[in-house]
């Protein structure tokens, strides 16, 4: 009998649709702003570093040190500006919009793939290629990132399969009833070491670390919080030594194209 753990969000509606195009433009701007802030942050680190060295070699009471302190204070102001830029970009990036699940999934897999050992295969089974939900793209990205990296870590011998299924429309139990089904079902399973019931329950606690010597292995609280925000549910089933299955059900999905929806 597999061990299971489940976290449920509220069941009310996911809210309004339709701001898709302008939100997507804002998201593009947010990405650009984040990119600029990233490059500036490297430059500011360099200014801080050489200023610290100049201060050390000139002596704290020298005239040069007084000039260097002014440079550091200018760098502090620049740091505040990049923080503002990032905060604006985060604000835009945190807006809900119509998101095609397979787009975010592909982006995540592209990012993760170079870090996945060659013996681990990531298999996609996409039964609902146009499935779209109203969500914050970054939140979805974090859900996929967490779950895929957990699966990679669970495969100890660096050889195994991670299977990602996107299915729907289904009802809120993940079944196809053909009676006004509007839910999306995402399953991420792995052939890794699996977990006992105790570990699964603890995974939903904030700050839980299950990675042991391999790393910090953050738990599922981030994922379940994000799903709660989407009024979705997550269920984890696992048998020690035989892998883990994570099922997510997200309501109010559409299964046509994004442009139809907008």
């Amino acid at each position: 009998m597999p061990a299971r753990g489940k976290q449920e969000g509220k069941t009310s509606s996911a809210g309004g649709h339709g701001r898709g195009r302008s939100s997507q433009a804002e998201a593009q701007l947010a990405k650009m702003a984040a990119g600029i802030a990233h490059d500036l942050n490297t430059v500011i680190t360099t200014i801080y570093g050489f200023s610290e060295q100049a201060m050390e070699s000139a002596g704290e009471k020298s005239r040069t040190a007084a000039y260097v302190r002014k440079i550091i204070s200018a760098a502090d102001r620049a740091r505040m500006l990049t923080a503002r830029l990032l905060s604006l970009s985060r604000h835009a990036a945190n807006e809900k919009m119509a998101v095609r699940i397979t787009d975010i999934l592909s982006e995540t897999i592209d990012l993760v793939k170079p870090s996945v050992p060659a013996g681990i295969k990531i298999v996609r089974k996409i039964n609902a290629p146009e499935a779209t939900i109203e969500a914050v793209p970054l939140q979805l990205f974090r859900i996929f990132l967490n779950l895929i990296m957990n699966a990679v870590q669970a495969i100890e011998e660096k050889k195994g399969i991670i299977e990602i299924t996107v299915d729907g429309p289904v009802n809120n139990k993940g079944k196809r009833t053909k009676k006004n089904d509007t839910c999306l079902h995402i399953r991420i399973s792995d052939t890794g070491k699996g977990m006992d019931r105790d570990t699964i329950e603890k995974m939903f606690e904030p700050y839980f670390t299950g990675g042991g010597e391999q790393g910090t292995g953050l738990g599922l609280s981030v994922v379940s919080d994000a799903l709660t925000d989407m009024h979705g549910t997550i269920t984890v089933s696992s048998v020690k030594g035989h892998g883990t299955i994570v099922d997510m059900i997200i309501p109010d999905a559409t299964f046509g194209s994004v442009s139809e929806k907008n």
């Binding site: 990405k31 984040a34 990119g35 802030a37 990233h38 490059d39 942050n41 490297t42 500011i44 680190t45 360099t46 801080y48 570093g49 050489f50 610290e52 060295q53 760098a75 740091r79 990049t82 990032l86 985060r90 990036a93 990012l111 993760v112 170079p114 870090s115 050992p117 970054l138 990205f141 974090r142 990132l145 967490n146 990296m149 957990n150 870590q153 990675g211 010597e213 391999q214 790393g215 910090t216 292995g217 953050l218």
Partner: protein
């Protein structure tokens, strides 16, 4: 003295971090991308690796995974200013892959040196 490898694609920052650590008598090996880091890494010499995450030619996440495999006892610090997914996502991933400590840019190099001292003496 303990050995540190720095992997960073910004040449000026790489120079700065190398100098900061050499002045504290660490043996420093530098690499300007992940591929170079994997070629230059010597388990017997390096006790700690500081790596940026977004780099050409094998990114820092790959460096973390491969170097952890080559020397399980290695200490790893990931640094990142973000990218299109935001620094949080990359640093979270670095933690998951086995970084012992993560630092967001911009940072004071003296704080990084302090952390290195805490970790490897």
């Amino acid at each position: 003295m303990a050995g540190v490898m720095i992997v960073e694609d910004d040449a000026t920052l790489l120079d700065l971090l190398r100098e900061s650590l050499e002045r504290r008598n660490y043996t420093v090996i530098t690499a300007s991308n992940g591929r170079e880091a994997l070629i230059k890494f010597r388990p017997s010499v390096v006790d700690l690796v500081i790596t940026d995450l977004l780099m050409p030619e094998e990114d820092g996440l790959m460096v973390i995974m491969k170097i952890r495999e080559m020397k399980p006892s290695i200490r790893l610090i990931a640094i990142s200013g973000g990218g299109k997914a935001g620094p949080g996502s990359y640093l979270l991933m670095a933690s998951k892959l086995g970084a012992d400590h993560v630092i967001s840019k911009p940072f004071l190099p003296s704080e990084l040196v302090k952390k290195v001292k805490e970790m490897i003496g």
